[in-house]
């Protein structure tokens, strides 16, 4: 049997699905590192501080910004899904996709500004 290629997937809801899944996967990969780093406090405050200063390197700062973006986009996409699944609705809440994306981006920029 034939399966679909990207021609059948070029619509907002499908992209929302992909972004939600990929962001979830990336966040799941990141979390153990996050937890391990904080766990360094078990050794000493200095150990944690050393790791944090190591993360001040530009590639990590970019990574941090990306993570905030991923988390925000995953959370907002998730809220859209919860609305679709639990509230009466019309349509695929496409406007939420746009709003969610913008709010996530704004949040990540706020973070970038603070860091």
């Amino acid at each position: 049997m034939k399966t679909n290629d990207m021609r059948a997937r070029r619509h907002a809801s499908w992209w929302a699905f992909l972004v939600h899944r990929v962001s979830g996967l990336l966040l799941t990969l990141f979390l153990p590192i996050h937890f391990w780093t904080l766990g360094l406090a078990l050794e000493s405050e200095v150990a944690l501080d050393q790791a944090l200063r190591w993360y001040q390197h530009p590639v990590f700062l970019f990574g941090e910004w990306a993570l905030v973006l991923l988390l925000a986009v995953h959370a907002l996409g998730g809220i859209r899904l919860l609305l679709i699944e639990f509230r009466p609705w019309q349509g695929l809440r496409r406007e939420w996709i746009a709003v969610g994306g913008l709010v996530a981006l704004a949040t990540s920029l706020l973070f970038l500004n603070a860091s």
Binding site: N4, R7, A8, H11, S13, F17, E85, F86
Partner: protein, 248 residues
Amino acid sequence: MSVSSSTLRVEVWRGGEQGGYQTFEVPRQTSQTVLDVVTYIQKHLDPTLSYRYACRVGMCGSCAMQVNGVARWTCRTHVSKVCNDNRLQLAPLSNLPIVKDLVTNMDAFFGKIIAAKGRFVGAHTRHDPMEQVKPDSPARKEADAGIECIGCAVCYSSCDVVSWRPEFLGPAALNRAWTLVNDERDIDGAARLAAVAGDAGCHSCHTQGSCTMRCPKQLAPTAAIAGLKRMTARAAMRGELEVKEVSR
């Protein structure tokens, strides 16, 4: 948009699963549907081409196939709407076994409607008075929103979860089940909820929304499936999903 060239290059899937695309040149008309194109090929160029249609006016759903990668009714698809520089690619519906050329085996599609208990079971006979169903009751409105499905399989073919999980019942079957869940005359509700729950059922829907995007009757299986998710989860948490079936 003016008709620049007068000939369409049409790639058509030929053969079974191991087949390939064959290219035909079809004269382009100002007002032309994809069904016109396929019919022209079969009539004038290659009588061995197999394809389905019946009403050719957008009522029966028989003519569904992949046009440039997207599932559509060919009788309701104008060439000018989907044509990129006079090229068309026609393939049989996705997610269904290919019989020959543009014809698919629909057994699995209809089998899943039955598996989802997408059939009415009533308690009354012709000797009972007619049941009064209020058309504006919330449940009836829910049912009516999805009742116009004619089983064309466009949604089923558009769904990636169907591709990824072979046992997934799919949008049409689940939509049909939802209309019956909301039918106050039906008495098989408990078994139906059990049938549509789980990874083969509504819980594998990831709200990609391709079904709702593509349904030629503008139905929203996504909404129906969301409703089933709520009902089945409630039943599962209350231990009501383990039921004996109503014999039929």
